[in-house]
């Protein structure tokens, strides 16, 4: 079959069941278009067919016969430069699809309207078929508007990230794009039962890898059972589909009813994975309930006594409520993916979509019994992670074992259904909170009981984080895990904090509301944190805040409201971080074992080096995402930049001292903070630093009471993380945090069938992440003082910028309607029901 591919007549080989994206990626090696969902929803696979953007994942190859196909690799359009300059991307995995669509839109717009910026709604409508999980939409709006104004017709301008041009041209290679000679495709066979002992696995393949735990019990539908490989994905899928698994069923716990069948007994409890980051919360077990963990309490008995007395006296100053949150799924646009190869010398090579290159290498060496230097990990570009790609996960085990068994490199790429089912989630929660104020309107006592539902995992630490907020008033904080036969939770951007803030920040709002006090003023009184005081002052001075209507005072169909929420987050770092600089010719090459998952660390390193060494861009090269060099941090717990950047400065200083002669090599270290750390020794490469980062989000929404919908209009984010190393990139991360917070507040909800435990939201139609049209206008304000004790004076921004967003939306809805949402997401049915009461 003949097609014109990027202008060149090309004969391609295609089966009648093939879709264009596979013909391009596998047949032609054009990996710009990504097959991220394969259901026509995300747009990452978009190519032009005779000039018209189409979703190539659903486009039959036969329909391309004799047509002109333009992929991102064949595109040379001003909007690509606009995306690079305006930072319309973070991880970049959605970018090829966006720029292909945007190119067609910009041309059509300019042809009919001239060189003027389109209204936001026009851009949103044109880009409606694209999803960006990083939430780079504000930059995308800016880029498209600028390209429409003709601002990028000429010179390139300065890209906001060093790898931006690679990402907008499709050159950037992600793990899913790696294709080695003789490579096979691996697929994981998953359990269809929520709870069963597997008695037999019959698969029609020469090599089958067992992925069951030692007790051969599957504890959730979707749990890996085995893995198989074949020359093509189609063949591997067919083998997996034909697998016959024998099950000896065990009753499943699919709700938190006290009589539910037990998921773990005394012996298997240790197997339970944890949904929190390095935080082990020991507690007793009672059937499926683990906990309470109460050690975060402070004068807990006093708190309970005061609250009981207030309850007995029907004290109106006692605010109580039960708040719930749905399970949220990370679903990075690049799914979990690994290509594993054993070389003839017995070394293991892993191409991996990971947020922890170093940790993975360590774990792999241990698991497969290799000296550390014989594991080689490559993660040049990572299409998002958000906590779901930390350490070794199922796709890596499958790829490595299959590669060994088959004697050939094996690639395992999760389908979107895999990704939405068993690749990590933020556990659902139910939090009951009681909050008492005294005569002066100060916080007198607080109790928080949080039940986390992270499927077969433990460690849904929610209540503990209430210890970080609002001074030292007595409080009893209890965390429970309710174990069910559902897929496990994993750490997700600020694990534990969003559900806690959803409850606490609404309760605090309720106190202010009942007292008739300004919610910002009340928080300012309660909150001892000086950095946040500056943010409160900034927020209170916003004209929109001052002009907001009283809660519930509006009539009519559309009601606007503004809400605020504060957030507090620990400062974590990897004190062992080093960076190696080597002069190669006249280029300074920087290396450390970290990775860029879209945060922009590659660019931060480059920028610091250029500044410190006074070098032009082309004389600095950053090589990260690989092992074989000095220790660097995993991208978890907001620690990458604060760990790496000071080490880069230190290295630059050393290199200046050495002189930039060819071959010169230095290693820079992350020197200690003044007064050291809270944790005297680093545990697992992590130290808890002194001080807390802070955020204040002010959110304006419009509620449509006819349809029960909430439209986020504007968000102002005040962020106190000290020195900002790269303003545009930090802002992008904060904007992405807002977008994800809006998803959590309004749309995202994993559904599980209550009878079988099967995840129902297994595609991006049913699991709803925010699109460009759901993006509010965003203003990010950085307060940069208060971190003088920290080496480099700045800490991480990734988590603090998202955890309070949903609570600010809840408070805005209350302000608009007088009705307070308790359950996330704030779905239309819930809002309609609430308004009826």
């Amino acid at each position: 079959m003949k097609i014109i591919l990027n202008g060149v007549p090309t004969v391609v080989d295609a089966h009648s069941g093939d879709v264009v994206v596979d013909v391009l990626r596998e047949g032609q090696g054009l990996t710009g278009a990504k097959a991220a969902c394969r259901t026509g929803v995300c747009g990452a696979c978009t190519v032009m067919v005779d000039g018209v953007p189409q979703a190539s994942c659903l486009l039959p190859a036969a329909a391309a016969r004799e047509r002109e196909i333009t992929t991102v690799e064949g595109l040379d359009h001003p909007v690509q430069r606009a995306f690079a300059v305006h930072d319309g991307l973070q991880c970049g995995y959605c970018t090829p699809g966006f720029v292909v669509e945007a190119a067609a839109f910009v041309d059509a717009w300019r042809a009919s309207h001239g060189d003027v910026a389109p209204p936001r709604e026009r851009i949103a409508a044109a880009m409606a078929g694209h999803l960006c999980r990083c939430g780079a939409y504000q930059g995308i709006y800016a880029a498209i508007a600028a390209a429409c104004r003709g601002e990028h017709d000429g010179d390139a301008g300065v890209p906001a990230r060093v790898e931006a041009m690679d990402k907008v041209t499709g050159r950037a290679r992600y793990t899913t794009d790696v294709r080695l000679d003789g490579q096979l495709e691996g697929v994981i066979v998953r359990s269809t039962r929520a709870h069963a002992r597997v008695t037999a696995v019959k698969v029609d393949a020469a090599h089958v890898i067992d992925l069951l735990p030692p007790d051969r019990i599957v504890r959730y539908a979707g749990q890996p059972v085995a893995a198989v490989a074949a020359p093509t994905r189609r063949e591997a899928l067919a083998i997996a589909e034909g697998a016959e698994i024998g099950y000896d069923p065990i009753p499943a716990a699919l709700d938190d009813a006290p009589g539910a069948p037990v998921v773990y007994d005394e012996h298997t409890r240790k197997q339970a994975p944890s949904a929190s980051e390095g935080l082990e919360l020991p507690g007793p077990w009672n059937g499926n309930v683990h906990g309470p963990f109460t050690r975060a309490s402070w004068r807990g008995r006093t708190a309970v006594k005061r609250i009981e007395a207030a309850r007995g006296a029907a004290d109106p100053r006692l605010v109580t409520g039960t708040f719930t949150t749905a399970v949220q799924v990370h679903t990075p646009l690049e799914p979990h993916a690994c290509v594993a190869r054993w070389d003839t010398g017995g070394d293991l090579h892993l191409y991996l979509s990971t947020q922890s290159v170093g940790l993975v290498a360590e774990q792999a060496a241990k698991r497969w019994n290799l000296p550390a230097e014989r594991v080689h990990v490559t993660a040049d570009h990572v299409g998002g992670a958000f906590g779901a790609k930390n350490g070794i996960t199922a796709e890596t085990i499958a790829a490595v074992e299959l590669a060994r068994a088959c004697g050939a490199p094996v690639r395992v790429v999760f389908s979107r259904a895999d990704e939405l089912t068993d690749a990590g989630n933020r556990p659902g929660t139910r939090t009951t909170l009681e909050l008492l104020t005294d005569d002066k309107g100060d916080l007198a006592a607080l109790t928080v009981d949080a039940h986390g539902r992270g499927g077969v995992s433990v460690g849904s630490a929610v209540a503990v984080f209430a210890r970080l907020m609002y001074g030292t008033a007595p409080r009893r904080l209890r965390d429970y895990d309710v174990i069910t036969n559902e897929p496990p939770g994993t750490p997700f951007r600020g694990p534990g904090a969003p559900p806690m803030l959803w409850a606490l920040e609404q309760a605090v709002d309720e106190v202010a509301h009942r007292r008739g006090e300004d919610p910002i003023a009340l928080r300012r009184r309660w909150d001892g944190n000086r950095k946040r005081h500056a943010l409160y002052d900034w927020a209170a001075a916003l004209p929109a805040w001052a002009g907001r209507a009283a809660a519930g005072s509006q009539e009519g169909r559309f009601r606007r409201g503004i809400g605020v929420a504060a957030a507090n987050w620990a400062y974590m770092l990897d004190p062992g971080t080093e960076i190696e600089l080597q002069v190669e010719g006249d280029v300074v090459v920087a290396r450390t074992t970290t990775q860029d998952i879209g945060t922009g660390i590659r660019s931060v390193i480059a920028e610091i080096l250029r500044d410190e060494l006074g070098l032009p861009a082309e004389r600095v090269r950053v090589e990260i995402g690989r092992t074989g060099t000095v220790h660097g941090p995993p991208s978890i717990g907001s620690r990458t930049t604060t760990s790496v950047a000071p080490a880069v400065r230190d290295a630059a200083r050393r290199l200046r001292e050495r002189g930039l002669a060819d071959g010169a090599k230095v290693v820079g270290r992350r020197r200690r903070d003044r007064r050291g750390y809270v944790t005297p020794i680093a545990v697992g490469g992590m130290a808890l630093g002194r001080g807390f980062s802070g955020a204040v989000h002010v959110t304006e929404v419009e509620v449509d009471t006819r349809f029960g919908t909430v439209r986020p209009l504007r968000v102002w984010a005040g962020i106190a993380v000290g020195h900002i190393y790269a303003e545009r990139l930090a802002r992008s991360q904060c904007e992405g945090g807002i977008v994800q917070g809006i998803g959590y507040a309004l749309y995202e909800e994993r559904h599980v069938d209550p009878v079988t435990g099967t995840v129902l939201t297994a595609n991006l139609d049913d699991y709803r992440i925010p699109g460009i049209g759901d993006t509010p206008e965003m203003t990010v304000h950085f307060h940069q003082d208060g971190w003088e004790h920290v080496n480099g004076r700045g800490v991480g921004v990734g988590e603090v910028s998202t955890i309070g967003v949903a609570a600010s939306v809840g408070n805005a809805v209350h302000n608009a309607t007088g009705w307070r949402p308790h359950d996330l997401p704030i779905r239309p049915d819930r809002l309609l029901e609430g308004m009826r009461k």
Binding site: S16, G17, V19, R38, T39, G40, V41, G43, T46, V52, P53, Q54, A55, C57, L58, L59, P60, A62, A63, E101, A124, A125, A126, A128, G129, T192, A221, E241, R706, F707, G708, T709, R711, L746, Y747, H751, D753, P754, V755, T756, T758, L760, T761, A762, N763, D765, D766, R768, P770, G771, I772, G773, D774, P825, R827, P828, D829, L832, E833
Partner: protein, 306 residues
Amino acid sequence: MSVPTDIGEIARRGGEFRAGGTDLMARHPAGPYVDLHDLHDLSGITWQPDGSARIGALTTVAELAGDERLRAAHPSLALTAGALATPQIRAVATVGGNLLQRNRCSYYRNPSFSCHQSGGDSCPARTGLTLYSAVIDTGPCVAPHPSSLAMALLGCDASVEVHGRAPFDVGELYGDGSDPTRDHLLGPGEILVAIDLPPPVPGERAAYHRAIARSEAEWPLVEAAARLVVSDERITFAAVAVGGVARVPLRLPEVEEALLAGETLDHAAARAATRCAPAAQNGYKVALLTGTVLEVLERAFDAARG
């Protein structure tokens, strides 16, 4: 490989017909596929002297949405076409494929389940997630009909042409919703050739709305299209169709009659609720249904008054 361009020959080939493939390729049926895209005669809109129109089954949704004459003559249809799916999908999806696509029930689309629609004999949705289910119960299957265009065409009194059969009302493609095993009633090997639209109603104004949580690109919880003619503040013609609420797209004669009888838009819209029988989680769809009907009535009415 020879490309048949004769419809009779194509109809005789065994296999799944494939038009744009946007529904088919997401479902991955076993194949073989029989591509229709070379039947060029089935593409495009032709206008008859009396103002009626014939839309070829292979006409894309984007063509419907963008066609100036159609927008003037049958605005409810063009508006619906412009609001469904996403630009990349509309560019490829055909009218025929839209009418004959399979439903979006998450149980039906999940290979772990078997149900009436996939050869089984039960409905796991009824005992499971009913948040998105049909709120008007017409039979064992409660998956809302997926086709937005079917809803709009029903409101336009359109008929369909199937190769080898006399034209029939678009509603007969779907029946009354009592058959839980399929989403349309065409037999294997039957090709939908065209859709026929009657001449436009002079002075008609129309509106389309879908109730969704996000701003774009979401399957409707409820959708509706209304066509009105207003003269001297009185409604003299009304056609109201709704989707997302039943196994089949529906006309709402009870609402249309109320409008013609001079009831307020509010009251007329409220009549949409009378047929509803909510399941455990979808009671809210009753409010959304009356809200969506009211929305399209108000917008069409305002437009009709000028």
